[in-house]
C-alpha cells in the first residue's frame, strides 16, 4: 500500500473491475471495503462499479465495453452469477482471459492476491458449471 506511481498505461495488462454490491448487503462489508482499499491504495488503474446487478438490469454500455476489453480480473461474487449477468445484459464475458474472484466467500487477502495476479485462484469452484 503506497502512493508510489506505477508505470504508464499498458494495454496488455488485465483490466481490474471491482463491484461494490451497493444496492444490497450480500457481500460482507469488511471484505468489500478491504478489497476496495487494497485496489485504491495500490495506485494501479482499476474500474469500480456500484453494482453489476443494477447495471445488468439497465444494460449499461460499460458492461459491453468491459466484456470486449481483453483480459479482465473481476472482484464480485459467484462466477456463475457474474457471467449470467453479463450474458443477460447482452454482453457475455469471453470464456478465456477472465478471472472472477468471489468476495462473498473469500477473504479480502485472497481476493486481492487474485486481483493483483499474485495468486491465481480458479474462476470456478468444484461443482460449478464451466
Amino acid at each position: 500500500m503506497s502512493d508510489a506511481p506505477t508505470p504508464p498505461s499498458d494495454p496488455q495488462q488485465p483490466r481490474l473491475l471491482y463491484c461494490r454490491c451497493a444496492y444490497a448487503q450480500v457481500v460482507p462489508d469488511d471484505v468489500k471495503n478491504d478489497v476496495l482499499a487494497g485496489l485504491a491504495d495500490s495506485g494501479a488503474a482499476f474500474e469500480a462499479v456500484p453494482d453489476l446487478c443494477e447495471m445488468a438490469a439497465r444494460r449499461d454500455p460499460q458492461l459491453a465495453e468491459l466484456a470486449a476489453a481483453g483480459p479482465l480480473r473481476i472482484a464480485a461474487c459467484w462466477p456463475r452469477a457474474v457471467r449470467g449477468l453479463f450474458t443477460q445484459a447482452g454482453s457475455p464475458l469471453p470464456k478465456e482471459g477472465v478471472a472472477i474472484h468471489n468476495m462473498r466467500t473469500d477473504s479480502a487477502t485472497t481476493v486481492l492476491a487474485g486481483m493483483q495476479g499474485i495468486a491465481d485462484t480458479p474462476e470456478t469452484a468444484p461443482g460449478d458449471t464451466p
Partner: protein, 290 residues
C-alpha cells in the same frame, strides 16, 4: 425499476501531468462516489481505462492544463480538484449530473432524497437452461419472455417482485439465479448433484398445498368465495385467503408482501392461462426450429 438513464461515469486521472491523491483520500473518494451509485475509474497508470460511451467527468489534481480525453463518445467535463475537500468534489459530480434521474443505493437515497430500486430479478444460467418454459408459465408478472429465436429470456426485470425467488424453485434444472439471494444455489453458488436430483424446490411448493400454488390459491379463494356468498361474510372470505397465504409465507416459499400483493383470483387465473399459452407456443416454435 427506476427508468434512469446511464449515470455519468467518473474518472480519477493520476497519469502524467497530474499529482496523485494520497492513498487514504483516493480510497475515500471511491467509497463516497460508489455508495452514491457512480462508477469510478482510476486512470493514467497501469491498464488503460475503457473508453466510455456515456457522459464522463474527469477529476484530477492537474499540474497545468488537463490531459485530452481520448476515445469515447459521450460528453466530457473536466474538473481540477486541487485543494478541494472531498464533500465539494462529490457535490461537483452531483451537479454535473444535472437533473437526470438516478437509481440510488438505499442509504444514499435516504440521504439525498432520490429514488431507490433494489436490483432483484432472475438471472438465467444458460449453460443449465433447457428452454422448458416452466418459469414463463409460472410467473404472473410478465418477467419472462421469448426471444426471436424462441429461447427463454428475462424480458422485464423491473416487474420482478423484490425478494421473491419463487420461480427459481420451479426450475427443474436449477438454472435460475437471484444473485442477491442469501443462499446457494439460488445466489449463483455451484449447483450440487443433490440440488438437481432432489428437484426439491419444486416439491417444496407443490407438496405444500398438493399442487400448483396458484391453482391452489384459486381453489382456496373460490372456496372462500362460495362460503362468502353462503354466509355473506366478507371478513370470513378474507380470513380464508389470509390463512392460505400465511401457510405459503410460513414455508418461506414466497415472501408475505408478494403474496399480499397478488391480484384477484380471477386475474390470477387469466394471467396464468396467458403465460401457459405463451410458454406452449414458444416450446412448439423452438421444436419446429430444430
Amino acid at each position: 425499476m427506476i427508468a434512469s438513464p446511464t449515470p455519468p461515469r467518473v474518472v480519477l486521472y493520476e497519469g502524467p501531468g497530474a499529482e496523485p491523491l494520497e492513498a487514504a483520500t483516493r480510497r475515500d473518494l471511491f467509497t463516497r462516489l460508489l455508495d452514491r451509485g457512480y462508477a469510478v475509474s482510476l486512470a493514467g497508470r497501469g491498464a488503460p481505462a475503457t473508453p466510455p460511451e456515456a457522459a464522463v467527468i474527469v477529476l484530477g489534481r492537474f499540474q497545468g492544463s488537463p490531459p485530452a480525453v481520448e476515445g469515447g463518445s459521450g460528453p466530457v467535463s473536466v474538473r481540477d480538484i486541487s485543494g478541494e475537500p472531498l464533500e465539494q468534489v462529490v457535490d461537483a459530480v452531483e451537479a454535473a449530473r444535472g437533473s437526470r434521474p438516478m437509481n440510488r443505493p438505499e442509504a444514499a437515497a435516504a440521504e439525498t432524497g432520490g429514488e431507490t430500486w433494489k436490483p432483484w430479478f432472475p438471472v438465467i444460467d444458460m449453460d443449465r437452461c433447457t428452454n422448458c418454459m416452466q418459469c414463463l408459465s409460472f410467473c404472473l408478472f410478465d418477467v419472462y419472455g421469448v426471444s426471436d429465436d424462441h429461447h427463454l429470456q428475462v424480458e422485464n426485470p423491473a416487474n420482478c417482485k423484490v425478494n421473491c425467488p419463487a420461480c427459481s424453485r420451479v426450475c427443474p434444472d436449477v438454472a435460475i439465479m437471484f444473485p442477491k439471494y442469501h443462499a446457494g444455489p439460488i445466489d449463483g453458488a455451484p449447483v450440487s448433484e443433490s440440488d438437481v436430483s432432489r428437484e426439491k424446490m419444486k416439491v417444496d411448493i407443490s407438496a405444500l398445498l398438493g399442487g400448483d400454488i396458484y391453482a391452489k390459491l384459486r381453489e382456496r379463494s373460490a372456496g372462500a368465495k362460495a362460503r362468502f356468498s353462503r354466509e355473506r361474510s366478507e371478513d370470513q372470505a378474507l380470513a380464508e385467503r389470509r390463512r392460505c397465504l400465511k401457510k405459503l409465507a410460513d414455508a418461506e416459499a414466497i415472501p408475505r408482501e408478494v403474496l399480499d400483493a397478488l391480484p384477484t383470483p380471477e386475474e390470477i387465473q387469466r394471467r396464468a392461462a396467458e403465460a401457459a399459452a405463451r410458454a406452449e407456443a414458444a416450446r412448439a416454435a423452438a421444436e419446429a426450429a430444430t
